[in-house]
Symmetry: C3
């Protein structure tokens, strides 16, 4: 789907916030219906998900301690009538090894968050047979 550019936000999320909640609340408060999101920083005790196709649900991996937030990439669209952020992260431990997946939750130590609003049609997540909520496919 094609969009035009809207507002741009670059900001530091407060320490102690759950980063997933923060991005969702930011989208709701600023009325961001569609957008892209990225961030770097550091997260405490992040929980990441790996989607198990056979079970149709996420396996949750709980990491303990503080991890560098090496990459955060995601998007904002509508789910259940509200703005919803889908976020994936790569996280680095004290030896520089990386872990990651779907971000379930993570407490902000530092988070520098970039959000690009997109204007145009509504992009909506709908429950699928596989257990995920996804946009309609767009064949070429």
């Amino acid at each position: 789907m094609r969009f035009s550019k809207g507002r741009v936000f670059l900001l530091r999320a407060p320490e102690g916030e759950n980063l997933v909640n923060f991005v969702n609340e930011l989208a709701k408060k600023k009325n961001i219906i569609v957008g892209s999101v990225s961030a770097i920083g550091s997260l405490r005790n992040p929980k990441i998900g790996y989607f198990e196709e056979k079970k149709g649900q996420y396996k949750v991996i709980e990491l303990k301690g503080t991890y560098e937030l090496v990459s955060l990439m995601g998007n904002i669209s509508i789910k259940d009538g509200e703005p919803f952020a889908h976020i994936h992260v790569a996280l680095g431990d004290s030896e520089g090894r990386l872990y990651g997946g779907h971000l379930v939750e993570g407490e902000v130590f530092v988070a520098e968050v970039f959000v690009q609003e997109l204007l145009g049609e509504i992009l909506e997540r709908k429950p699928q047979e596989n257990g995920l909520s996804l946009w309609d496919e767009e064949p070429l």
Copy 2:
């Protein structure tokens, strides 16, 4: 090189597609000459490349199974007269461990793809002595 912003696309690539082909075909069909691309999702049996400088070619690593597409970053420019996507990925397994490199191919389970077109001069990849096809360097 300096550009201005063009069209923006945010869309779900169809399940089963080779994601590298999909982005290349999208660029050709939409006539995106220069751009940036990012994505998150999940890929099946991805093949990733590590460029071996001494051999002047990619070593291909074949991963088996389904991996979270934790980050996809890349760009679109001209190679051999056609739009060409250069893409790197980070991929997470069921334990949250990450693997990655140059994306050679990967079957889409889920792929939410963001493309930003850039307008301006033509950015072209040219074969180099080291075995890669690269843009001209831009010293400061």
Copy 3:
């Protein structure tokens, strides 16, 4: 903080440059006060940092050899009166394993760099009690 879009740069950094210096110098030379930065490519002998909260300083991890630059994400803002790039990277070895964290330095083998300038207020890093230089927090 809210911004509007400025100039966009997509370019190849010269081989042999320290990529952190290159982005900082690019920002200074082009007078980019605020922005986002991303890149893919390949780095030689990168040094990455993991911030040790208890010590209030980065532990530096020195990687030897050439690594795929799988993701580079960061931002540009003002620190000590000058444009300053804060950059995190994911790096892939010859087996496809990923390492990463805060990019301290890394010699460019290949670097395809995307910079988005942001126009608006000044975003400034200020020394914190925890040892980091950060922007003011922005509660919702």
